[in-house]
Amino acid sequence: MNFILNMAWREMRASWHRLLLFFLCIAIGVGSMVGLRSLIQSIKAAIKSEARLLIAADVDVQTESMAVLERYFNSPLVVDHTEKLEFGTLVRSAADPNAVPRLVWLTAVQQQYPLYGEVRLVDGQHYDHSMLKYRGVLVRPKLLIQHNLKVGDEIKIGRLNFTIRGVIQKEPGQMMHFRPAPRVLVDYNDALAAGLTDFGSRVQRTMLFKTLEGQEETLARQLRRELRTDRSLRVNSFRNREGPLSEQLAQVENYLSLLGLVILALGGIGISSVTRVFIQQKMKTIAILKCLGGENRHVLGAYLAQVLALGLTGGLLGLALARIVTIGLPKYLADRISFDIEYGVTWQAALQGLGAGILVALLFSLPPLLEIRRVKPILVLRKDTAASGRRVDWLRLVAGLLILMGLFALAAWQAGSFKIGGIFLGGLVATSCMLSLAGAALIRLLRRVGHLPSFVLRQGVNSLYRPGNQTSVILFAVGLAVFFVVTIYLVQINMLSEFNYNSILVTHDLGMIDIQKDQQAEVEAVLTRLAGEAPTMIPMLRLRMVRRGRPGQEWWVSYRPNLEEYEKVTAGRFWEPTPSPDPEISIEDHISRDFQLGVGDTMTFDVLGRQITARITSIRHANRYVWNPVNSIIFRPGALEDAPQRIAAHIKGPVPAGPRAQIMREIADRFPNVIVYDFVETFEAARGVVRSISIVVTFVGGFVFLCGVLILVGSIAMTKFHRLYEAAILKTLGATRRLIILITLIEYGVLGLLAGVIGSAAAIALSWAINKYALELAWQPLPSVNLIGVAATLLLVTAVGVLSSLDVMMKKPLDILRTE
């Protein structure tokens, strides 16, 4: 043991710079894995420790029977209570009559709000409910930017003007706010006075309770029991809100860790290459040790100890990288997560990352390390006896199996599921096989091209088959990196173009909901006057589905005589426009799928206590980008006209900002209960979300690419001895330095080209599959992205190849030939 440890230490002391790539590969893998996992774990820990802030109370209740709740105000369980209202509404600058109204998410609160936590304002201002009194409003920074306003300015909400008294930095009850509309906070009574809660408004009323310590579940149970007949009842204690959120975050954490594992596995390939080079360079030392009495276990042990030490060092460096990630990414997330989180590398993630790093280092270095057994001590006397014959090496096969099993175990561990671990490994193996096969096929093809006309071309291409060449390793590793990065970009651009307002046919881009029946004619007239065309008015009815005689889910439904231009019938036949006394319905394909209903089946609904059974006569597929809030279930006219209903409207709004703003302004001013959606803005917000996601994905892709470059550098180093010798001979035979550079350029140029083509081609297939099956989005080929991918790979591989071979070009031939 002493010898093994001493030898490992001495070897590392002398060769650490050769193994730099080794621990960089580990460091990047571990860094990305630990960094991503720590981020989520920090968020989870914050949620757990500050769980009450999730709802800013111990229990929150939404019910139609608010009167029942009043009985609980004096319950011995309840310490305090408060009510809040939340809804979407339009806001505009009060000073500028031409300002564009924009959608906000309004929260109206009472004196006691929040029961837990604090509303934090920017510039260190202290929140007090008095700030909201007399029509004060607190807003998010985004609103100030959107409307070009500042603190002290007035905004118009509903019928009233409100003064901006401060800017909210963080508020409890809003842990993650990814809503496109900015939030505003007003006083409860002011909201009522502004006419925002008039009949027809889609207001969400929530009663918040503070209970005696540990009594939150008791109160929640009592409320659920007492209000069990209320079908729209929602009772949450902070504990049952935290549970599902933590579970969702655990899933995100596991998926992100799998991404980290992809990087680590790629790093493993780099490790394998570097170890192979290292062992090749150490052949003579190994032979000497064997001459001096070193048994295989001694020598193997010494190098295995080095791998362990390097895995550990690389892992520690990875932890440092992860720390940088946890410092950098939260700055980006700060605007989106409004609670205090102490970001840092968590012990759990650090230990997992270190363990995974060491395991990957050991597994992937095992096959090259096993070569040590085949090194004969006679190598010190005769150069040509490097290793014994090519018998089947069972130990190597076992090592291969161990790698697969180890990766499976790691993937299952990281994903927290054997199934996902298996799918991950299967995907990785399939991708690896496909890339390797494509590489081999391309090389075979190149070999068959025949006699190349120029010496430089011939020599450059021939270099790809030189003894000990790393062509397939480079093609695989760089190809895999290109594959990942190009796929990310193809998916991202496809997603962005889905949310590009100009690139898709939007027949209606202004939508309105919550129009009352008595407002219908007026709204229609306003819209027709300002937009120059009549809007489509869509009746909205809330009906409860009845299944097997029992009341079930509530649905928004509508009725109309004809098929719209943005939809097509996929089964059955759409009805004639005439009303029919026999109820008929047409359902969208997703309802058909989810409820396993087909043409000829029936659905029963409860309409004011009367049950209507309707026959499905057609199934439709609608363009999802045409806004229609009630398209899933459509009745044939004749059955629902007399039932209570609201109206939605949509219209193709004018393109110029002025007239468009005028429509929104007039609707907001005259009908405060009506909510207007501007889809141009919604699309922009969606593009923003896609961009945010792409930043994280690009960050991961960047790590993958860095690993690919490291593997490339390592693989080039592997053939350095051959190339040095070849260059020396060529120079002796009269080749100039320029000629050698040209040959090197051709060699790596071809390699880069092949890797780029393989990676890009595979990326087309994967991006198509992701778009079609995972995102269910339309896919379009983007040859320019692929071409840029190929060109960038060609340039990068050539640059790295030439830079890594500088000494090959510069060294004097005599020095090399002498040592040979």
Partner: protein
Amino acid sequence: MRRGFYYYISIMIRLTNVSKTVMSGSEKLTILHAVDMFIPRGQFVAVVGPSGSGKSTMLSLVAGLDAPTTGDIFLDGEYINRLSEDELARLRGAKVGFIFQSFHLIPSLTAYENILVPMEIMKLQQARARAQKLLDEIGLHERGHHYPSQLSGGEQQRVAIARAFSNDPAILLADEPTGNLDSKNGMHVFELLVKLNRERGTTLLLVTHEHALAEQADRIISLNEGRIVEDLQKEN
């Protein structure tokens, strides 16, 4: 049973009908032809012969670095033909010291550490003190912390000699130990080798081109085209 039959207490190396054939392209090439030889304990034997006569091959077979095509080899009474790689390594560690023409020091270790390695492998007691003593004996007391690349050829070979003696081996195999040195350094190294050999009573098998060195041996075996053509034993 075979061991009992061939076991002589005074014989350190025994080769019986040993031949070595290798493939050269598609043709068989015999490097050693049915060599019979025994070397008693403590004898200093020089093996001479032109290039390609099979000297180094014979040395590698004796050390168990290579396996013979035919014949039997015994080292200190132990039949080595059937030993595994690891058993041979153990045997070398315990009984054989090596000196090579191109020194073959481990470049990543200092002179002192190079001497230490065989003792560490064999887990010898007081290895460090012994390595220091050997450094003193070869006159490199001050240069123990230097790496091979920082030493001259002569100094490297002296370190190699100290390394070869570090385990107190019963057999010392030297393959042209002065071949890469100038005559002055070569003579210095050779004298050191002979001195340490005499002091420790080691059996020394020295392969050399130089007749002047061979003359110092107790016995000179001449090889030509893989056959022993002369075996001269000096009178004491």
